[in-house]
Symmetry: none
Subunit: 228 residues, 2 copies
Amino acid sequence: MDFVEDDYSTYWETRMFEQKEELDSWGWDENLYGYYDSSSPDGSSSSATAKNIVSERNRRKKLNDRLFALRAVVPNISKMDKASIIKDAIGYIQELHDDERRIQAEIEELESGRQNTPDIFDLERMNTSFTGMKKKRSDQITPIEVLELRVSEVGERTSIVSITCSKKTDTMVKLCEVFESLQLKIITANITAFSGRLLKTVFVEADDTEKAQLKRKIETAIASLDIH
Amino acid sequence: MDFVEDDYSTYWETRMFEQKEELDSWGWDENLYGYYDSSSPDGSSSSATAKNIVSERNRRKKLNDRLFALRAVVPNISKMDKASIIKDAIGYIQELHDDERRIQAEIEELESGRQNTPDIFDLERMNTSFTGMKKKRSDQITPIEVLELRVSEVGERTSIVSITCSKKTDTMVKLCEVFESLQLKIITANITAFSGRLLKTVFVEADDTEKAQLKRKIETAIASLDIH
DNA sequence: ACCTACACGTGATGC
DNA sequence: TGCATCACGTGTAGG
């Protein structure tokens, strides 16, 4: 009564055969181990354990099937290891999260961009779009420690973002990644390091609604960096 | 002494603590079960099985941790069941796939909408959006294309590094990484993007010997980036 | 010989 | 009472 065996051909299939054979040909004898059933008046307990065994077997099979299916929907799996499958799946989901976030941002940009006349800032905006991808190597993170974040306006459609952090390893890179992920219309950016501090100044083109959200967006982007 | 599972109600992460305690406080005695080591002249076999036990314990723990982490990145988990976690993860990935496809279609539509005068901006956009995503999945790298690299001296201990590249995906981040990896004494740095070009200017503090090697170090660092 | 990764049977726990 | 899920120790096969 076991539903479906889809393919499986190239994986843990060895198990399948064993299992099938067992299920069919096992003269299941619980006295195999010389057990006398404990704590039960009749022999019902032995059949109980027998049921438990087959039940547990099904559970394991289901789990493996699921794991197998999970592997199927995740591309670029290198190791067939159970733990690795799950790990890759996690990484892939996070990857998709990032993609979705970026693409969504791009749509917003495109939609708002259609109303305005496309200007030179479109170039910059597009150039800075899909860049912050992936962080490959070390899982060791050095969170960005923000000392000051100031957003001020100069002119009608231009804002200056000024952020000061303590200079640690990779802070500069991460800072760049943050600003790229925000899909801002960056006119020019400047980073200065001195006495353990890192000061980044960014000229951004932003309309009123963008201005209003600018500071908050930066803050949350930096905060979300610290999570991973 | 039966370290009974208290609660469990909130889930199995409680187990982690128990397990840790076990590892620390177990006076691990393989004779607990009254085993005499079978089929071995000395007692080495028993220690082997003991190692196997602790190893297996670690494996289970790792698997559960991964599963726990997987659950963390998947929203709307109803059942805490192991199999259900994997199932939900699969469903969620497929969901994200659908979203991604739908959104990409949306972008295409938007872009075709502004197809009048296909100018450099549109070209830039195409390059950085779709191809950028695919490339990144397949781990394709976009090497830094250096157009000009100039190192000049200003003053006794200060040099100016001026580098111009074509602006592609991740160029800015990679450029930052390169300079980060060189461990230079950077006084100030400026990055400006303009018409598909990326211009980075760095003020570096360097003595004579460092000056002499500066340009070469930068070149090799960029070149070595393209290897991977 | 060691180490990894696995499936298995078993008892426990909670519904 | 059964039924589901789990952690555990064990034997084993492949690298």
